[in-house]
């Protein structure tokens, strides 16, 4: 037994040695990877980073440019004792920062070896010049030029997006395209057009001698490659309108989206509260604070938030009713402060004249009227069951761009949600639901969710009398061609003629002239022919959301706006002035009349943050 064990151990020794030798054989003889890597090690590739493309607004103003900053690099092994105070003074930093960094390098010197370390990031050119003058006193320290993003206009952090160093997850996702230490656009426009903006890296090749000093340029620069700068991008954004929208939305939670109806070009896209452009250039430093903010500034509400649309959705139901032939513009329905639907339930409404026909019902936003409309759609004899008529209704709704991603070129867009009849079958059973069960859908409440971008797109659809072009933020420009889908019209399933009624109702809502008076007088601007529709959407987390869509001018729409303000109450109080101010600013260039100036002041000073529930 003992002898046997002795031999077993000797065999084990042999196996262990074979494992070591096997692996050595693989890396020394079979695998070429380590030989090329060794060549990389003695040839130094000094990367030249291309300048990133500039982002322009639709009028040619720069919204994202580049500026020069310097990183201070230190090779700890080359550092000689130095005057910390003088260095800190030149670089305009606290000496303790330098001391603690140097202490760190000393502690981990064996791990760091000859690698250069970044002592300070983004030192301004002024400070760098002061340092450069006395740089000879500090061997081992040098400056490395870098371009960083510069924001001449505050056009909104969520819209523009930020650029930051790629992390492991990103490298994995884009295998082979990036290397550790590269920068890439992570959100917003920067991410949407990353491939155009980034450019192509170049490099100088140097040789290193046996003391790790860079000696000469390799083969007189034969292998060197110039960097190719990134392409410039022209966006559809109107920088001043965007900035104005941000001012209006200050201290409110919600979104404003403005679209040019004829082209589908997004003019402004405000998500509030958002990331400030002053934080964008060095997002890493602010990232923790941004994530901690209870109002989630990183969350781009314009394309990601899914809200019930509220009364603005009545337009869609009305149009479907007209198209299906279950509603005629002259039909009048009674409404005595609501719509009774059995067992003493009543879907409430505000006081107005009764009975009303379609145009007045739109203008006054009568809840009762649209309950009748939705009932007619669902109880249409054409269809054998409520399931069939409901799915038909859903098909119509989807043709307005709801319930699925619109396919915008803006990243991280979500699709909202329009339920299917199956959803209700599962919830209530096949026989367990009827019109009364889902009556909230009549007025845009209940189980539907839409994004502010989709609401704005619906408004643009009405303005276009029946079609939309997928909203997008990039325009064609020299060198950058956008996809053809951003030129194609998408028609809804409702005929153009029916849209005239919706437009007329929206005009009356703002400018009056009907039998019952409109809900949106506050949006009226002399000479602009604004058409609008208020909405008030219930919010399970506190006060109602205020919603307003409008476009102008009525007969040649140049701009369609959707404003969605969380917990702000009735649509006419906050969303309507915000949206109409956007239109006025865009079409007139300024807010001129004293009365409108008062409205502007009230909106800008308004602070609704205390109403919003935090997580």
């Amino acid at each position: 037994m003992a002898l046997e064990r002795h031999h077993k151990l000797l065999i084990g020794l042999g196996v262990a040695a074979a494992i070591l030798l096997g692996k050595l054989f693989v890396i020394q003889i079979l695998d070429d990877k380590y030989k090329t890597d060794a060549a990389n090690n003695s040839m130094v590739y000094d990367v030249i980073y291309p300048t990133r493309g500039i982002i322009y607004d639709r009028n040619g103003e720069i919204i994202v440019g580049n500026k020069v900053a310097y990183d201070i690099i230190v090779s700890p092994r080359e550092v000689k004792p130095f005057d910390t105070l003088a260095l800190a003074k030149a670089l305009n930093v606290d000496p303790d920062i330098i001391r603690s960094k140097m202490e760190y390098y000393r502690k981990y010197r064996s791990r760091i070896g000859y690698q250069a370390q970044t002592l300070l990031k983004q030192v301004s050119p002024e400070d760098y010049m002061k340092f450069a003058e006395i740089q000879y006193k500090f061997p081992g320290f040098k400056g490395q030029m870098r371009t960083i993003r510069d924001y001449p206009i505050n056009a909104g952090g969520n819209l523009l997006g930020y650029v930051s160093e790629v992390d492991q997850a990103f490298l994995k996702k884009h295998e082979g395209e990036y290397r550790s230490g590269d920068y890439a656009g992570k959100t917003g426009i920067e991410a949407a057009r990353e491939n155009d903006l980034r450019g192509v890296k170049g490099y100088h090749v140097y040789l290193r001698d046996s003391h790790n000093q860079i000696q000469t340029s390799y083969n007189n620069g034969e292998l060197d490659k110039e960097a190719i700068p990134g392409k410039d991008i022209v966006t559809t954004i109107d920088a001043h309108l965007q900035e104005y929208g941000q001012q209006l939305m200050k201290n409110k939670v919600g979104s404003v989206v403005a679209i040019e109806p004829k082209t589908g070009e997004i003019l402004a896209m405000v998500s509030s509260p958002g990331i400030d452009v002053s934080q964008l250039a060095d997002i890493g430093q602010h990232y923790a604070d941004i994530l901690k903010d209870p109002y989630k500034p990183m969350f781009n509400r314009t394309v990601m938030a899914s809200y019930p649309p509220g009364s603005v959705f009545k337009l869609v139901n009305g149009l479907i009713g007209l198209q299906e032939g279950v509603l005629s513009p002259s039909d009048r329905y009674p409404c005595s402060r609501g719509f009774p639907y059995g067992n003493g339930h009543k879907l409430g409404c505000h006081g107005h004249a009764s009975p009303l026909a379609l145009l007045d019902a739109i203008a006054t936003s009568c809840n009762g009227y649209f309950c009748y409309v939705f009932r007619n759609i669902l109880e249409n004899k054409k269809y054998s069951s409520i399931q069939e008529s409901f799915d038909k209704w859903r098909e119509y709704v989807l043709s307005f761009g709801f319930g699925q991603k619109l396919g915008s070129d803006f990243p991280s867009e979500l699709g909202g949600n329009i339920p299917t009849s199956n959803f209700y079958n599962k919830r209530y059973g096949r026989k367990g639901w009827k019109f009364q069960t889902i009556i909230s859908l009549s007025i845009g409440q209940g189980e539907i969710g839409v994004t502010p971008l989709q609401i704005a797109n619906m408004c643009a659809t009405v303005a276009n009398r029946g079609y939309y072009i997928v909203p997008h933020i990039i325009k064609d420009s020299e060198g950058v061609k956008i996809d053809d889908i951003y030129h194609q019209r998408h028609y809804t399933m409702v005929d153009t003629t029916h849209f005239q009624k919706a437009v007329q109702g929206m005009y009356m809502a703002v400018n009056g002239g009907g039998a019952a008076g409109g809900t949106a007088f506050s949006a009226r601007v002399e000479g602009l022919d604004i058409c609008g529709k208020t909405g008030t959407a219930q919010n399970p987390r506190g006060a109602d959301n205020s919603v307003f869509i409008c476009f102008a001018p009525k007969d040649d729409p140049k701009i369609a706006v959707a404003a969605y303000v969380e917990n702000a109450g009735f649509g006419a109080t906050w969303a309507s002035p915000i949206a109409s101010l956007m239109i006025e600013k865009y079409l007139k260039g300024e807010i001129s009349s004293p009365a409108r100036k008062d409205v502007e002041k009230r909106v800008m000073d308004g602070n609704l943050m205390s109403r919003v529930k935090k997580d």
Partner: protein, 510 residues
């Protein structure tokens, strides 16, 4: 002391194992030659200059020879056995004291410093623990199978190991695991080796592929061994193997079912953005399905299977079934405590090194830097290397700690695969020679001590070389006799020459 006049006494030539001494000398000389290659360009000093590490190592070599001479010819070999206990205790005290009085060197507290002289008690502890182990186990009536004796052995090895762990010298502590081979030689059940091997497999699998795969592997291994032990391999192939295969495929199947029922289900499970999750889940009322995880099914299988086999074991009165069950349960506990072990017990830098080794994280510029550069250096050596002092990787200082822990890089780069083969064969010869001599001995004290010495050298060799070629995590322990450093060289000299002296003492008379 020197014996004279015994007619049975053999000559010096016969009594000392000169082959062993020869291998020892060759390794030391190769060490100095390579240390010079590793530092020649950075320090810019001549081979023999005492400012450079090769010169200093020459001094250490000289002093080591002096120590070797003293041990072979001056100190009586009979002293080692009685001295084992006091030396062991004294070193133990030093091991603990050093934690509190030493300076922090790269996070560990293991060095005594007296002016320019530094020394690490952990190095000496290898010697005293080996002697102590040999002393304890060579007592008459000692039996490893007796609980009391077994626990004594555990304490002898475990206490210094714990103290060294307390100094944050994980690498040196790991060397003590090697004593298990010596214990195996002296009658420790082979199952211990199997269980330790299995535990290592489980730990690695849990970290790389997750608890599901590792528990399934555990069940597979235990059931396979169980069926082999009971001669039921055929039955195992028919029933257990098929069951295991189905279970192995289950997570994939479950995932596709989920994705078919809920579009985007896999995204919902991994996303950290609640709004995305909500957007996916609002379209379905099957979201409760996401709460079920394949692991639960596996645990349910164990929960049902273990009691059934427990009843069987009880009826058949078959201890092996009990042991197998205990293994399964202990394995499950190990799998679920792996993450706690990994996150809480290990230090930050150790965790990162293991993550890099297992390929969980890539970090060529950070923690992975050492290993990556070291593999480049060795790999670029090719078959015959770049030639002495021609290495670029080691010379340019890409490889850190090049004259101490990463000395093998210099060998690999400048001497190529041929050089590596030579060095490793020299170590194998050294270990084989010690084992051979140990088996030759009549006194169990000498034999056991010899095995302990061989185990120490083996562990250092495997861990150190394994680390430089990416087989082991970066654990800073020197390559015996080759790496720069006085205290390591002294320790291995003493370790080996005590054995030579003990061996000589026997050879002189028999």
């Amino acid at each position: 002391m020197l014996d004279t006049g015994n007619k049975y006494k053999r000559s010096l030539k016969q009594s000392i194992d000169w082959v062993l001494v020869g291998i020892y000398l060759v390794l030391i000389v190769l060490g100095i030659v390579n240390i010079y290659a590793a530092i020649h360009s950075a320090d810019g000093v001549s081979f023999f200059s005492f400012d450079g590490r090769s010169g200093k190592q020459l001094v250490w070599m000289g002093t080591s020879f002096f120590l070797a001479f003293m041990i072979l010819f001056v100190i009586s070999p009979r002293l080692w056995e009685p001295a084992a206990i006091p030396m062991y205790l004294a070193v133990l005290v030093l091991l603990v004291v050093v934690i509190f009085v030493s300076k922090d060197v790269k996070g560990s507290h293991s060095w005594f410093e007296f002016g320019p002289v530094k020394f690490q008690p952990a190095e000496i502890s290898k010697i005293t623990t080996s002697l102590m182990l040999a002393m304890v186990m060579s007592r008459p009536n000692f039996k490893l199978s007796r609980i009391k004796d077994f626990l004594t052995v555990c304490a002898v090895v475990g206490i210094p190991m714990l103290a060294i762990l307390g100094e944050s010298e994980t690498g040196s502590a790991l060397v003590y695991v090697g004593f298990i081979f010596a214990l195996y030689r002296e009658g420790l059940s082979g199952w211990f080796l199997v269980i330790i091997g299995m535990a290592i497999v489980l730990l690695i699998m849990t970290l790389t592929t997750g608890p599901y795969a590792s528990i399934l592997t555990l069940i597979a291994l235990v059931s396979l061994i169980y069926s082999l032990e009971k001669n039921r391999f055929g039955k195992w192939l028919v029933t257990d193997a098929i069951f295991l295969l189905v279970m192995a495929l289950f997570p994939t199947i479950w995932n596709s079912i989920l994705n078919a029922l809920i579009p985007g289900a896999s995204l919902a499970m991994v996303t950290e953005d609640p709004s995305v999750k909500e957007a996916i889940l609002c379209t379905t009322n099957l979201d409760f399905l996401l709460l079920f995880k394949p692991l639960y099914l596996l645990l349910a299988v164990i929960g049902i299977g273990v009691p059934i086999y427990a009843v069987k074991a009880y009826r058949e009165a078959h201890p092996f079934t009990w042991y197998s069950l205990a293994c399964v349960l202990a394995g499950v506990v190990l799998v679920f405590s792996t993450n706690i072990l990994f996150e809480k017990v290990l230090q930050d830098h150790q965790r990162k090194r293991i993550e890099v080794l297992l390929g969980l994280k890539e970090d060529p510029a950070g923690v992975g830097y050492n290993v990556n550069q070291s593999m480049i250096a060795i790999g670029s050596g090719g078959l015959f290397g770049k030639g002495y002092l021609q290495g670029t990787q080691t010379a340019y200082g890409f490889v850190p700690e090049q004259s101490t822990d990463f000395i093998f890089c210099t060998v690999g780069e400048e001497w190529g695969f041929a050089g590596c083969l030579l060095i490793i064969m020299l170590y194998v010869a050294l270990i084989w020679r010690i084992l051979h001599d140990a088996e030759d001995c009549r006194e169990s004290f000498t034999r056991i001590y010899g095995y302990c010495v061989a185990c120490c050298i083996f562990m250092h060799l495997f861990i150190n070389v394994g680390m430089t070629i990416g087989l082991m995590p970066v654990i800073g322990i020197p390559l015996p006799l080759l790496s720069y450093g006085g205290s390591s060289l002294w320790a291995f000299t003493i370790l080996i020459f005590i054995f030579l002296a003990l061996y000589r003492q026997e050879k002189k008379y028999f």
